[in-house]
Amino acid sequence: MTDLSHIRNFSIVAHIDHGKSTLADRLIQACEGLTLREMHEQVLDNMDIERERGITIKAQTVRLAYKAKDGKTYQLNLVDTPGHVDFAYEVSRSLAACEGSILVVDASQGVEAQTLANVYQAIEANHEIVPVLNKIDLPAAEPDRVKQQIEDVIGIDASDAVLCSAKSGIGIPDVLEALVTRLPPPTGDGDAPLKALLVDSWYDAYLGVVILVRVKDGAIKKGTKVRFMSTNTTYTVEQVGVFTPKRVVLPSLNPGELGFITAGIKAVADCNVGDTITDDARPAAEPLPGFKPSVPVVFCGLFPVDAAQFEVLRESLAKLRLNDASFHFQMESSAALGFGFRCGFLGLLHMEIIQERLEREFDLDLISTAPSVVYRIHSTDGSVQELHNPADMPEVTRITKIEEPWVKATILVPDEYLGSILALCTERRGEQIDLTYAGNRAMLIYRLPLNEIVFDFYDRLKSISRGYASFDYEVDDYRESDLVKVSILVNDELVDALSFMAHRSQAEGRGRQICERLKDLIPRHLFKIPIQAAIGGKVIARETISAMRKDVTAKCYGGDISRKRKLLDKQKAGKKRMRQFGSVEIPQSAFISALRMSDD
């Protein structure tokens, strides 16, 4: 058993691309957690999608043994955290399992918006923070400027920041040494009743549900009958161990230590992240302070392209939820798209990731509706309801007011782009709270409606600033707003899946944009097809698809008839699969492209 004074639990906070995963790789390598042969890039990012996108979605932990300059061997527990705001919830629980953080900042790029959000969370979690300047060997590296920026923007002392290059292996021993000398050891009482924090859980095809825990007091062993304090359910521990990053089974996990347990648990849903695990025979009196539950803020409908795949989609969503309890789904039906699910996500990236995992891991073809935020509808009868789907909006006459969620957004941008970014924020109904400078970069704090962000804010921001702006947001509060539901009518038939909510000032522009897109996406028919955007009964935009003029086979003689008939039979079968709106057939691809937010 490792003495508490020889344990350091830490996480790494960084912006995407600032080298967090590479640094983790180097630390593992330096402590010989993996041999060179076993090493591949981004070892902690297990999912294909994590490696491909260069992001971390799920928290991972790894225990390393480090022999420090004082001659003693320390147990280092690294909790890898996602960098993106959508996974802030995962970040907060990772941070709760540690006493300190490494703040990784790219020495050529400086502090970015995402770094800020995460580092503030670490400060809130009372972490000791070691600033590390990465990519120090790049010609563009400006360590002194970035140190100053860390002090100005974040407000922590950066004078003794560690300089390293994870990629080239420069300064890695200094990082390890700083962990030992500058981060505090955990505290805990091995004799007290068991108190362990449930940090994360996931479903493993071989092990079943695996739970990641941080032991505060007491010890957890194979055979211990544990009680989950929030649900009052008990399980007998089957395996206890750690990842080095290989899975290693151990006899016990002791105070200050991080590791996994398995206990024959069937569903991840039974494991509430933030719950306290205690010994059923000798329970703790008080649970540990938990986390706030995650609340989805962005919703969209997911429908199978092939209606026959509905059940497969249901099963796939259930399986994914085993691994990610932060997304929600509920069956819905659409006149346009048939049966599907309304799904809630922590943010846009989260939404994209889940869709991509469904398509990739479960081989599904999906249509997703436009993302929508959660509106609060106040009715004339005094009730308040949450609106997740624009199609469900009640009659306007029964509504007294509608509120929409606002966010507090932080944008960091080189000052040459400031003017256009300010214009974008204004166009998106933003309210400036603060504008400060750190070196040649401006830091903007804005309040913006989430609805505007969900639309194409991030893409626009990136294109206006040529990729140099960084952006982060947190959901703030709800405010009353002049919101309308824009309906789309194709050949005078309402297409529910295309309805969306918009601020009255934006409704016409967006309605027109969707009509224009549909005009190009719906093939010509034998008759003219009007496409309209409307608020209630009032048409705000209109396009017309002209009638088809020519579709005839030039030659049809004795030898062509069989082939033509077979082709016709195929088309007739295809016609049954098309989504039919009145007499108009709208191909699936039209939904997918019409609902895509950005023009690309």
Binding site: M548, G559, D569
Partner: protein
């Protein structure tokens, strides 16, 4: 029970001197063709089908290909004689042969005519040399002009084909070409014109080039305008369309092709030839036949079995009815409802989607009268979509 649809004999000659890049017909370039063996095999297969269709009255013979003008005229003569011996024939039996302007000279025309051919259909395709080259044709315009003028003197009825809506062809260019064609036709007593818009057929070299972006075809609206202009010019010249792509002077329509479009039976002899044969008996049933496509294999099978049938499918009542609608609406006077009911064994109404029909008549694409269902000129130009909407 016999109607005006007729009963035709199609004979396929599968050989060409070279393959045209747009053509997806069953044609082959052979070093050497054993004319004797081919004559014997075609005669044997003809005899086989004659045995299946006793008592029918033959209304037309059509030699297609390939390039049937490469066939020994004596072979054509022998086949015609065999047909006359096998079936009773109408007095004005139409006997067509397809010819390429480059493969015939006047002397050969005489022999072909002497063999009994009374209608010659020539694949002229274009009236400028650059486009003829693009289409992979072996002949030039001058050669073609000599050929059709000679043919018109020899054959009672002559037709020629043009392909339009070619890459880079403008409406004005096509109008000029068509005017020239109509002028020639009228001046030399040619009574029939087939005017096809260039179509990319799957698996052809030209379709592959097109897919690679080597050339572009006129867009839908431009092609539609070309088609409409074609109708107007031909109407004015006394060559109205009697089918989507076929125009004729009064009384000069191709009766053999009308048999296909009116749902009549036809015997298909030769490699890859298709047939439609209605069996006698209590239930009406039409067989769809297709002969083996590969010439050498077909030849062997005919030698062994007396015929080279590869597919012989009894059409379902629904498939038969669908075919009748599909081809019937191609002709200008449309689908005769009585004929349809007689051939399909069910009324037309049982096949169609009433909402579709209502839309089609409302949009002026179809005209529905008690006796006929007729595609309007606009409807004919979008006939594939019309048929899809019409059928339930």
């Amino acid at each position: 029970m016999m109607g005006d649809e007729g009963f035709g004999l199609y004979i396929h000659w599968p050989f060409c001197l070279s393959k045209c890049p747009y053509c997806d017909f069953n044609s082959h370039v052979a070093e050497h063709v054993d004319q004797g063996a081919w004559r014997d095999a075609l005669l044997r297969e003809l005899a086989y089908f004659a045995g299946c269709t006793p008592g029918r009255i033959l209304t037309s013979i059509f030699f297609g290909g390939g390039t049937p003008s490469l066939m020994d005229p004596d072979t054509a003569a022998a086949l015609i004689a065999a047909a006359r011996a096998s079936w009773r024939t109408v007095n004005d039996l139409e006997i067509t042969l397809e010819a390429n302007p480059g493969t015939v000279d006047a002397e050969r025309f005489e022999r072909i005519h002497a063999a009994g051919i009374n209608r010659l259909s020539m694949g002229v395709q274009a009236l400028n040399d650059a486009d003829l080259k693009f289409l992979g044709r072996r002949h030039g315009v001058a050669e073609a002009r000599t050929a059709w003028r000679a043919a018109a003197k020899i054959f009672p009825r002559t037709s020629f084909d043009l392909i339009y809506a070619r890459p880079k062809q403008t409406l004005a260019m096509w109008e000029e070409e068509l005017r020239e064609a109509l002028d020639e036709v009228q001046r030399h007593g040619i009574t029939h014109l087939s005017l096809y818009q260039l179509t990319m057929e799957d698996g052809t070299p030209m379709a592959a080039e097109h897919a690679r972006g080597k050339f572009v075809l006129p867009v839908e609206d431009d092609a539609a305008v070309m088609y409409e202009r074609t109708q107007a010019l031909c109407d004015a010249a006394g060559f109205p369309a009697y089918e989507v792509s076929n125009h004729a002077a009064e009384g000069a329509a191709c009766r053999h092709n009308l048999t296909y479009w009116r749902g009549g039976d036809y015997v298909g002899v030769g490699p890859g030839a298709h047939g439609r044969l209605t069996l006698d008996g209590a239930t009406r049933a039409t067989r769809a036949t297709r002969q083996i496509k590969a010439p050498a294999i077909w030849l062997k099978r005919v030698d062994r079995d007396g015929h080279g049938t590869q597919e012989d499918e009894l059409l379902t009542a629904e498939a038969r009815a669908e075919e009748l609608v599909m081809v019937g609406l191609r002709v200008s006077d449309g689908l005769d409802k009585d004929r349809f009911a007689r051939l399909a064994g069910r009324p037309l109404e049982s096949l169609i989607d009433p909402t579709g029909l209502a839309m089609l008549t409302r949009e002026n694409l179809l005209q529905d009268t008690p006796s006929r269902l007729v595609a309007t000129p606009r409807g004919r130009l979008a006939l594939n979509a019309v048929i899809k909407a019409l059928l339930a």
